[in-house]
């Protein structure tokens, strides 16, 4: 059973952390992953940087640009990760835009992920139907879970459809917005979390976008299985060294 599915069965609210590979320094990738696991994080999304991350806000954009400037490439990331499973046990996902994956070759990319021990992919600009028709078999062949997004605007019908073709969790975008653009959750969002929860989907939901501290984490996970922190963590890294990751994670889960 895929590490993601195992993790999802645990009876706890999951904390997942996103970071951009190659940021702040080109070779921080493994250290960050290890430190995150040590601090008790449940799951990690390794961002494959892209030149034009159109679903991301300024923080992740800037970290991606810096990572590329530092020299990050798809090959290098795989190289850095090749021994990761010798030390790290928690589920690892790669989150990236479709074009770099397409250029690498979707099958080659999936194969390499499988070899390394990556558990899933999040590709925001790979549409559900294209995945379903063209790439589902490849993903499954290499044991990769593909994670789809839903937003407050996604229709109930479409949510059920997405649920039907998901086999891990659903990435629930807290509010329709690019990453990093929320400062807290209001009634609208919590109603939305509850509405989805009440749909009793097959796949658990993990909330992303706008989680930055213990308060928003608690709100986000009241009706869901977990939450993902991205921009807030990148911001932390931009001001503090990788040794302080533990403090950051503890401040969320306190």
């Amino acid at each position: 059973m895929n590490r993601i599915n195992q993790k999802l069965q645990q009876d706890k609210k999951l904390l997942s952390i996103y970071f951009t590979a190659g940021y702040p320094n080109l070779n921080d990738t493994v250290t960050i992953i290890q430190n995150l696991e040590k601090s008790g994080v449940d799951m990690i999304e390794i961002g494959l940087p892209f030149s034009d991350p159109l679903a991301d806000g300024p923080t992740i954009q800037a970290s991606s640009a810096q990572a590329l400037k530092n020299g990050m490439t798809t090959n290098l990331l795989f190289e850095q990760l090749k021994d990761i499973r010798k030390t790290v046990k928690i589920p690892l996902l790669i989150m990236g835009y479709f074009n770099p994956i397409l250029q690498y070759g979707v099958e080659a990319f999936c194969k390499r992920c499988n070899e390394i021990g990556i558990d899933g992919l999040i590709i925001p600009d790979l549409p559900v139907d294209v995945y379903n028709e063209e790439y589902k078999m490849t993903f499954e062949k290499y044991g990769l879970i593909n994670v789809f997004l839903i937003t407050p605007q996604t229709s109930e019908e479409r949510i059920r459809y997405i649920d039907s073709i998901s086999n891990g969790f659903i990435y629930m975008v807290s509010s329709a917005s690019v990453t990093g653009s929320q400062t807290g959750f209001g009634k609208e969002q919590t109603d939305y979390f509850k509405r989805i929860a009440d749909m009793t989907l097959n796949n658990p939901q993990i909330v992303g976008f706008g989680i930055s501290n213990n308060k928003t984490f608690t709100q986000a996970t009241q009706h869901t299985k977990g939450a993902i922190i991205g921009s807030a963590f990148i911001k932390h890294l931009s001001k503090n060294c990788v040794d302080t990751i533990d403090g950051f994670v503890k401040s969320i889960e306190k």
């Binding site: 030149s51 034009d52 159109l54 679903a55 994956i101 690498y104 937003t151 329709a176 917005s177 690019v178």
Partner: protein, 394 residues
Amino acid sequence: MKTYNVNEKGYYGEFGGAYIPEMLYPNVEELRQNYLKIMAEPEFQKEFNQLLKDYVGRPSPLYFAKRLSEKYNTKIYLKREDLNHTGAHKINNTIGQILMAKRLGKHRIIAETGAGQHGVATATVCALMGLECIVYMGEIDIARQAPNVARMKMLGAKVIPALSGSRTLKDATNEAIRDWINNPVDTHYIIGSVVGPHPYPDMVARFQSIVSEEIQWQLKKHEGKTKPDYVIACVGGGSNAAGAYYYFLDYDEVKLIAVEAAGLGIDSGESAATSVLGKEGIIHGSKTLLMQTNDGQIIEPYSISAGLDYPGVGPMHAHLYTSGRAEFISITDSEAMKAGLELCQLEGIIPAIESAHALAIFEQKTFKPDDIVVVSLSGRGDKDLETYINHFSL
């Protein structure tokens, strides 16, 4: 039968589609389901055509350029989109899309712009309809197309600089998409070219198709036939070309030439010649040809012309290129500038630097004396005066 038009799934050959984040799905899907239906409504048709006529000033003339023709010993007709209200072909599309947006119940409009022509055209139709308008524009383009920035402000639009990447059209498009993600309910995104996710390329091409529709009957009056031997257009995203080609796509006897910006030269590393330098990939929601590294990172393009300074090309054009239906030719900055000045001094028309790229073809390629060559004069050069004056030290 071969067709160079879009199929029901939103593809031109293997190019096109809608590679968008889920956040955009409801908007794009709403548009996809409704655009053909709305465009077919008699009331829509009437309003669209009335505005094209009384507001935009269509039909734009098909002007026989006598002195230019003499110089190049062929028959050159200029399709005068420069005479449209706001000075380029862009307004054909924004008129259509603003009517679409109103019927979809949107009251906030966003757009990206490169040369500023699409931004001005969008600001214009928003003023006309009393809708809020936000235009994203690369910081570099804000500096090099200052007159258009001033025009947008006059028209009440908010111009927001795109500060990331190459700070040009590509980045402005990213910002516009981000805005749309952030404002999924009341906002319509008026894309300015035949790029973006399906149905945009097709919708924009249809709104621009008025150009070739007119060329047919205008040429009939001038030459007694509806089909030219050549249609030539510059290609940034490809909307003026799409409009000029539209009704000729399926007639192989009409040769199509697409002119791309070679910047400082194809091999200089400072270029925007997508078809030559590009590979298949995904940009702004569409599978098409784009300039990218082996790693799939998008390359920052360069052209003296803000409207051609784009690393991709619309999926229709990617297909016209790979299928060989259109010939693609690249023109450098200085070739374009020279052709622009030549048109000023032979015909008294100051072309946009974008359009000047199309005109530069005559120094590259020889036509027969009785060839009928239609050039899409996509816009006027008022926005480019400073660039011209500096370039030639006038």
